[in-house]
């Protein structure tokens, strides 16, 4: 075959409107297997909208989405999750009343099968299954270095750790595509460095494809293979980090040059 392999995700001419607001306008992009893509842009550029479209929280007014080559335009969030897309949220969305361990375990819910009766009795295959999932979850907890807080209620952790737990929960689902909405927002320098290390590690170790929204340019330049820039709901650049950084349109968008 001479064709390039099918991209993991294809976004084709997607527009999203909220009433009179055009949040996304004919955005096309693709995310290829194994890469780390950063989505950048000024506030209100449509980055989170794009993420919400990909994860099924919003549906495009026009355009199509394809995941692994098949049409996925109108799936609901839990169907998208079942396809192997996991995400984190801009304002951490953890189950605050549950322990860190339970939070991460919820990430495995989709992987669990079997009879409720056996589960209720904690017996046979159900018990074995629970233990297997538990073992996997422990691996992720180790990987993200949150062993020390595994029994702590998630809601009481400092913000930086909550973000890490949220990442752990997303990873527990063994996603093919991981969407991170500002994984480093509100973190201090060390926390950012840790998070960068984890993101690179996840990509490296599990081969997970990652799309992330980030504002910190030095982070973006460091960890992403490719950068996509949005402004006013339109894609204005798509390329290697150094290319995008040098792009005049991107510089203008950030410096706020008046639109003609």
């Amino acid at each position: 075959m001479t064709d390039a392999p099918t991209p993991l995700l294809e976004v084709d001419e997607v527009s999203v409107r909220f009433g009179a607001v055009q949040a996304l306008e004919r955005v096309s992009l693709e995310i290829r297997r194994g890469e780390i893509v950063a989505i950048i842009g000024p506030n209100g550029a449509g980055k989170t909208t794009l993420l919400n479209v990909v994860s099924g929280f919003y549906h495009p007014s026009e355009g199509r989405l394809r995941f692994e080559g098949s049409d996925r335009t109108h799936l609901r969030p839990y169907d998208v999750a079942a396809l192997g897309v996991a995400r984190t949220f801009q304002n951490v969305a953890l189950f605050k009343g549950m322990s860190v361990l339970d939070n991460v375990m919820t990430g495995r819910l989709l992987k669990m099968r079997g009879s409720f009766l056996l589960e209720a009795l904690h017996w046979g295959p159900a018990r074995r299954q629970e233990l297997e999932h538990r073992a996997f979850v422990e691996r992720i907890i180790d990987f993200l270095e949150i062993e020390a807080i595994r029994k702590a209620p998630a809601g009481k952790l400092p913000y930086g750790l909550q973000k890490r737990v949220e990442l752990a929960r997303a990873l527990a689902a063994e996603p093919k595509l991981l969407l991170l909405d500002e994984p480093m927002a509100g973190m201090n320098v060390e926390e950012k460095e840790d998070m960068c290390r984890f993101i690179l590690g996840v990509n490296d170790e599990f081969g997970t494809t990652i799309a992330l929204i980030e504002h910190d340019m030095s982070v973006v330049m460091d960890i992403s293979h490719r950068v996509i820039a949005l402004d006013y709901g339109r894609k204005i650049a798509d390329g290697r980090p150094d290319e995008v950084r040098a792009d005049q349109g991107v510089i203008d968008a950030y410096l706020g040059v008046a639109h003609a």
């Binding site: 994860s55 929280f57 609901r76 969030p77 839990y78 999750a81 079942a82 996991a86 995400r87 949220f89 969305a93 953890l94 189950f95 605050k96 009343g97 549950m98 339970d102 375990m105 919820t106 990430g107 819910l109 989709l110 669990m112 409720f116 589960e119 209720a120 009795l121 904690h122 809601g155 009481k156 929960r169 997303a170 689902a173």
Partner: protein, 312 residues
């Protein structure tokens, strides 16, 4: 003064000691009533846990279930058939509520969902009476309202059957929601809708499951209370008795609903029988609320509820 102290503190205890069989009867009666409260409270807890909404309509759901059952039986359906049909109606109701009320309001403020359940309350009340009439109906489930005696203790057959049924139902629900992965999904949904969706929990299915479960609980509660006091509007008011149970047990705890119900059931019976004469009776009517008030002051999250600290 001493007389007063004696009659308040010592007298009732002496009465208890002097007739232990009677005390046991009072306690059994209290436990039976308490389990019924637990059952209604359980309906609240299930829905509160899964949709984070306080379901104002729970009491009316009890009334509606009982009305449907009696209505079907009046039209000649045998008990079993009527029961199955009522269960189907409650399931359909759960489905409809999810479609018409919960789905359009997803991610809205709690208070908005709460208001929606008030609307639901009025709708069900009106609809139930429209469909089945508003006169008091007798519900006969074939268990005589008579007593038998074990070791000198009188036990009412109807109360006993009700208590056993409620106990079994409560136990099954507790196990189902605590130990299965639906339980974990449920807690997740209760905590954060968006996050639950993102990890692949089908919110809508969970809601239907939970509202159906609350509907089943309402049927059992409706039968038990209806068989005792007839099926009528006042049935929906037993929901008010579930409130103190919830405050005692915590809004989010299944075991809490059970224990809270038992404490209130036994507490109010004992207070009524032994302290009632001192104040001219009717303690039963307010005991639960005063207890709840005391709890609100001392331990607002209830016995088993999760303490939620919100950062502002």
């Amino acid at each position: 003064m001493l007389d007063l102290l004696y009659s308040v503190l010592i007298g009732p205890l002496r009465d208890m000691g002097s007739a232990p069989a009677f005390l046991v009867e009072v306690i059994i009666g209290g436990l039976a009533a308490g389990l019924m409260y637990s059952l209604v409270a359980l309906g609240f807890v299930l829905i509160y846990k899964a949709s984070g909404v306080f379901n104002f309509a729970q009491g009316v759901m009890v009334l509606f279930a009982a009305l449907t059952l009696v209505g079907l039986m009046e039209r000649g359906a045998p008990l079993i058939l009527a029961l199955l049909a009522t269960a189907a109606v409650m399931g359909a109701l759960a489905f409809a509520i999810e479609r018409v009320v919960l789905r359009p309001l997803v991610n809205q403020e709690q208070i908005i969902l709460f208001m929606a359940t008030i609307g639901l309350n009025f709708f069900l009340e009106g609809f139930g009476e429209l469909a089945w009439g508003s006169d008091v109906k007798r519900l006969d489930v074939g268990i005589p309202d008579s007593s038998f005696i074990v070791w000198g203790v009188q036990i009412n057959r109807l109360e006993m059957t009700a208590a056993l049924t409620a106990g079994v139902l409560v136990a099954v629900m507790a196990v189902f929601f605590q130990r299965t992965r639906i339980g974990r999904a449920l807690r997740a949904v209760a905590d954060d809708h968006e996050a639950a969706l993102s990890i692949g929990i089908p919110l809508n299915t969970i809601w239907i499951v939970v509202w159906s479960a609350a509907g089943l609980v309402a049927i059992v509660a409706g039968i038990m209370w209806g068989a005792k006091s007839g099926v009528q509007f006042s049935l929906s008011l037993i929901a008010l008795k579930a409130l103190p149970v919830l405050i005692l047990g915590g809004f989010t705890s299944v075991p809490g609903a059970i224990v809270g119900g038992l404490i209130i059931g036994v507490g109010e019976k004992i207070a009524e029988v032994y302290w009632g004469p001192l104040v001219g009776g009717a303690i039963e009517n307010w005991f639960a609320y005063v207890l709840a008030l005391a709890f609100l002051l001392v331990r607002p999250q209830g016995l088993f509820g999760e303490k939620i600290i919100e950062r502002v």
